[in-house]
């Protein structure tokens, strides 16, 4: 069972401002989902390497992840629409609340 304290802590890490009723609900949900993971305890993974990327084993030669370290400029129109999507802005700058008091 995941404690209420842990649930609150996780919500804070995840930057979710949850209500008390939500904390209670997610505490219950997370506990039952983590119970479902218990079967994993019996799997022996000694000396087994993790697979972080599903295709790395069959793409070894072909997966060229790195590109040239070169800035590719975007058309002005795309830049404008990206800035236009920001909720709070001043000219071509996105406004953010002050971080330091």
């Amino acid at each position: 069972m995941i404690s209420q304290e842990d649930t609150k802590h996780i919500a804070k890490l995840a930057r979710l401002g949850l209500k008390e009723t939500e904390i209670k609900k997610f505490q219950k949900d997370l506990s039952s989902i983590f119970n479902y993971f218990n079967s994993l305890k019996k799997v022996d993974v000694l000396n087994i390497e993790p697979t972080f990327h599903p295709a790395e084993h069959y793409l070894k030669e072909r997966l060229d992840v790195m590109r040239q370290d070169k800035a590719e400029s975007q058309p002005e129109q795309v830049v404008d629409s990206l800035i236009a999507a920001a909720p709070d802005k001043k000219k071509r700058h996105i406004k953010v609340k002050a971080v330091f008091k």
Binding site: G17, L40, V45, T51, P54, R62, V65, V78, A86
Partner: protein
């Protein structure tokens, strides 16, 4: 113009049975009349579709040779960006978000003259198996309006099944193309990881997400896959797929049947139908071999650790600053907390919490790292199996479409919908769901899993069920 496949629509356009504009108007009208009861579409893009259709008609009237997808109407899942059109991801967070550019797959389709009819409903951020987690409305299964279309690409699958488009695009993270294709009685292809660029697909779980076609036939799936696949500079995980001209010879085929996929809890009617489908290919001369994928039972638990972990990181971008829903508050942290709390629905919050927990100090090794190691064992299972067989047959889903509301309150029972589909994403393999029969009026899909880059082979095999 009813029930046209891509191939038939193309033929009709070339033979001037109808113009692209007539075809587009036919679908737009049909959507207006029939989508009230199905609710497959979030946005219908009349103006875009009509202008694209007119362009194609101009080319045809000049006697130009047009690509097979030119003038053929398509529906697009609303987590794929179409420039200038809303991309909501069925979330309040992106309710008013307008895509600033085209996804690579959309750019490719547009270059081929595709006609985009609109954006289809999904579970919010593609998180779900029924499309009931859409922040806006639930989509209904065209075969039975009291039932779900599956998910998360439920809008796309329902639109194809109800003939509201010739074909559709979906995305598949743990079964989100194949399971709704199975529930709606259409074809759904989840391609090999990396073959279709993810640029412009709103990120959910990046090591699992893949865009693919939902179509009326296997031949149509091949056409769309050829059109959208290929290496893309804008997605560093994309690769050029080897184009294989595969000639099917059934008598040379070895089909593997994993015993772990025929388990207690599977609907007996579904089991019967899938076994009949296996018998059919056996009678045509294929060799059937029972195989074992011994770590199958761990696939779903590790999927529900890896997927939310990646999702919790990907969805950190919705902070109320750069785009999307923003709630003002006294300080910066307050903006984050409030924007995210008000914007995300329950299922999205649940998965962000799950992922954050699995990645947090003290739990990382026990959950996330352990899951990635078990993922290696699942990969070894498939590697071993594919040394012996050419393709693996399983049911796509343990049950046919369930009732609206039936599983929404119980997350774990909803998660079980992905039990036969999630393994494939964990190891990056291609798989198709093909409709083989139905229980009453509810379709049942057969899943055919192939080796990496063997999309053509599994699609060719699936044609025997048409």
């Amino acid at each position: 113009m009813n029930n046209l496949t891509i191939v038939q629509a193309h033929k009709g356009l070339l033979e001037k049975e109808f113009s692209a504009l007539e075809l587009t108007k036919f679908f737009l009208n049909k959507i207006k009349k029939q989508d009230k009861k199905i609710s497959a579409f979030i946005t219908v893009t009349d103006d875009l579709a009509l202008s694209q259709a007119k362009e194609v008609d101009k080319l045809i009237s000049k006697g130009k040779k047009v690509p097979i997808l030119a003038g053929v109407p398509v529906a697009v899942k609303d987590n794929i960006l179409v420039e200038g059109i809303k991309a909501t991801c069925a979330s309040k967070v992106l309710e008013d978000y307008i895509a600033p550019y085209d996804a690579t797959c959309i750019k490719k389709l547009k270059e081929l003259g595709a006609v985009i009819l609109g954006k289809t409903n999904l579970d919010e951020f593609a998180m779900g198996s029924s499309t009931e987690h859409s922040a806006f409305f639930s989509t209904k299964n065209p075969h039975d309006l009291t039932r779900v279309p599956g998910g998360s690409s439920g809008g796309s699958a329902a639109a194809v099944a109800a003939d509201l488009c010739c074909y559709a695009l979906g995305s598949d993270t743990g079964g989100s193309i194949r399971q709704p294709a199975s529930f709606c009685g259409v074809n759904g292809l989840k391609p090999t990881y990396g073959t279709v660029s993810r640029y412009g697909l709103i990120a959910f779980a990046s090591s699992l997400d893949q865009i693919g076609p939902i179509t009326k036939t296997a031949q149509d799936a091949e056409i769309v896959f050829d059109a959208i696949s290929g290496k893309d500079e804008l997605d560093s995980t994309s690769v050029e797929s080897k184009v294989t001209n595969y000639k099917l010879q059934i008598t040379n085929l070895k089909i593997g049947i994993p015993k772990e996929y025929f388990i207690k809890g599977i609907d007996p009617e579904v089991e019967k139908i899938v076994k009949q489908a296996i018998k059919k290919i056996e009678e045509m001369g294929a060799k059937i071999e029972e195989i074992s994928l011994p770590h199958t039972e761990y696939a779903l638990p590790i999927y529900y650790i890896i997927m939310p972990s990646e999702a919790s990181a990907n969805l950190a971008r919705y902070d109320g600053i750069k785009y999307g829903l923003s709630k003002s508050n006294k300080d910066l942290l307050g903006v984050y907390l409030k924007s995210r709390a008000d914007g995300f629905g329950d299922e999205v919050k649940r998965r962000i919490m799950l992922g954050t927990y699995a990645l947090s100090a003290g739990y990382y090794d026990a959950y996330y790292l352990k899951a990635q190691k078990v993922r290696t064992l699942i990969r070894h299972d498939f590697d071993k199996a594919f040394k012996k067989v050419d393709a693996i047959f399983t049911p796509t889903s343990p049950f046919p479409a369930f009732k609206l509301g039936e599983k929404i309150k119980d997350p774990v029972s909803m998660y079980l919908s992905d039990i036969f589909t999630a393994s494939v994403n964990l190891v990056g393999l291609p798989a198709v769901s093909v409709p083989v029969d139905s229980v009453g009026k509810l379709p049942v899909g057969l899943q055919i899993i192939g080796k990496p880059f063997e999309e053509n082979k599994i699609l060719e095999i699936s044609k025997i069920y048409e």
